[in-house]
């Protein structure tokens, strides 16, 4: 549904998005993953026609966003939480959007109920917490009941209950056959929410695959073995049907627990210098993938 082709965005000499191409399928949640400053928000703004690409195209359902007949009924978007005038009430904020696309006012009350903001709907949004702002943003995205939804960091500022709510909500939207494209810098969150992943670093595509694929390639059980008798060990391991790979320190053995290697070595009288299980979390796998691309090393992540 969403097609990004050779999308590039330069700000002066800085390249925010670099020749990015991917597509987002309908009926599933696609996670858009990358460290802060990797170009996720810029890409999303370009998909929505808010920022102009330096080159390349972004289309939704085959056409540019600006050519939508009733934009809010076709595409819903949660941008940064604070795209709201603080002096206007939540109810009036949604009404101004509804009026622009001839969405009935009754729908405003429906989406307020949907995100649990009925109680505070008549309060000015200036006093809203970050979490309430996010809920209002989600309500605005759902206003036109659109087929395609874009959420930029939707769980930012939400409490644990809110995070679970967003997760289930996004999954239910995809289950209804909608296209759900959601950005995050948290791999663990995406592993629970998304079906597909698009990983970027410094504006470049790093990976595009299903979450299952990502998990199976990145969370295989591995054991590192160091031994002076490499050839004998390799024979013993391949005799047992195990897959091995040499690295600078020794051997990496896949899909096995360390106990089994110890037993094999003992049976063949092989001296071991090291036998250590390696556990890589998804978060580590993601960091490994984007290691060279993190823009703000060691800085405290800015609260948006």
């Amino acid at each position: 549904m969403i097609d990004v082709t050779n999308l590039t965005k330069r700000y002066g000499t800085k390249v925010a998005v670099n020749d990015l191409s991917f597509s987002v399928a309908r009926g599933s949640v696609t996670g858009f993953l990358g460290p802060n400053g990797s170009g996720k928000s810029t890409t999303m703004r370009m998909i929505l026609g808010l920022d102009h690409p330096t080159s390349g195209t972004a289309t939704i359902g085959g056409k540019a966003y600006r050519d939508a007949r009733w934009p809010l009924r076709e595409v819903g978007a949660l941008l940064e939480a604070r795209s709201i005038h603080p002096g206007r009430t939540a109810y009036n904020h949604l009404r101004t959007l509804a009026v622009a696309n001839r969405i009935p006012t009754s729908r405003v009350n429906e989406v307020l109920r949907l995100v649990g903001l009925e109680e505070t709907a008549k309060k000015r949004t200036g006093g809203f917490s970050l979490g309430m702002g996010q809920r209002l943003g989600i309500a605005a995205a759902m206003l036109g009941d659109p087929e395609v939804l874009l959420f930029d960091e939707p769980v930012n500022g939400l409490d644990p209950e809110g995070i679970v709510w967003v997760r289930t909500f996004l999954r239910s939207l995809a289950a209804e056959g909608r296209t759900v494209f959601v950005s995050s810098h948290l791999m663990a969150e995406m592993a629970l929410t998304a079906d597909h992943l698009i990983v970027i670093g410094q504006g470049r595509l790093k990976a595009a695959m299903s979450v299952d694929e990502f998990i199976s390639t990145n969370s295989r059980q591995r054991v590192r073995v160091r031994t002076p008798e490499v050839d004998r060990l390799m024979d013993a391991l391949s005799g047992a049907g195990l897959q091995t790979e040499a690295d600078e320190h020794g051997l990496i053995v896949y899909d096995v627990v360390s106990d089994r290697i110890g037993e094999l070595c003992s049976a063949s009288n092989i001296t071991l210098h090291e036998l250590s299980p390696m556990v890589a979390s998804l978060e580590e796998a993601f960091m490994e993938l984007t290691r060279d691309d993190v823009e703000y090393h060691g800085q405290i992540e800015d609260a948006r």
Partner: protein, 295 residues
Amino acid sequence: MTTNLLPPPPAPSARTIPAGSYSLFDAIKAEWMKFRTVRSSVWCLAIFTIIMVGFSALFCAVTVNQWGKHPEDVFGFDPLTASLAGVTMGSLAIGVLGVMVVSAEYSTGSIRASFAAIPHRSTVMLAKAIVLGTVIFVTAAVAELIAFFLGQAILSTGHAATLIGQFPATHIGKPPTVSLGSHGVLAGLIATDCYLTTLALVTLGLGILIRHTAGAISAFVGVLFPLFLIVALLPTTFKDHLQKFLPLEIQQTVVVSKPVVSATSMSMWHGVIAMALYAVVLVGAGISFAVRRDA
């Protein structure tokens, strides 16, 4: 994980997408709703009206009180101008409003929500101009009329006077008043309304171009006042050619019932046309910038 947090499936009430597409009319309705759902716009209009009425009362009361004491206040006295004494100060409230209508959206980021709903930015900005122009035209008309009738009522309480310090002593009668039907009064009121409306659009254009509230208001006040002083310092040959194009100078020829006869100023309607041109140029430039820049 608790499953009772699962929200109900979104109701399909808005699912049937109507034929056609959004239009300028939808944008105008949205802008009108935006305009009246923030306090700042209501405040600016209220302050403008209070200034217009208050200055009229003050200026006319002082005129009545001081009538005859200073010859320069008597000769060339225009009762319409006296009752519209609040136009200069009122312009400030209108300018702030014109800027804020758009700069507040840029500074809060809500412009992105506006452009997401209506991706054609020229439509959004044109709708803003139409809503602002209409609101100011109506509000200024009401404020002018209240100020006018109040001012004339106060002037009519004046007493006849004899110019003192003159020889021979000149009897000048009571302070003059005018009615709506008097020659030049309706034209002056309408021209003043047009002047204030176009001024609001000029500031809207500044707001679209500059985006920041403080910056755009500074530009507006800077154009209205210091430019006037700078031009006043120029040698006469340049001053006479440039001064008449300044908004404040145009105001002097517009807020009157008796035409200002001067070789260096524009006529009333030429002044209004000049203001309209400024508005068209600034809003037009603003729209072309808004379309090209990132939101």
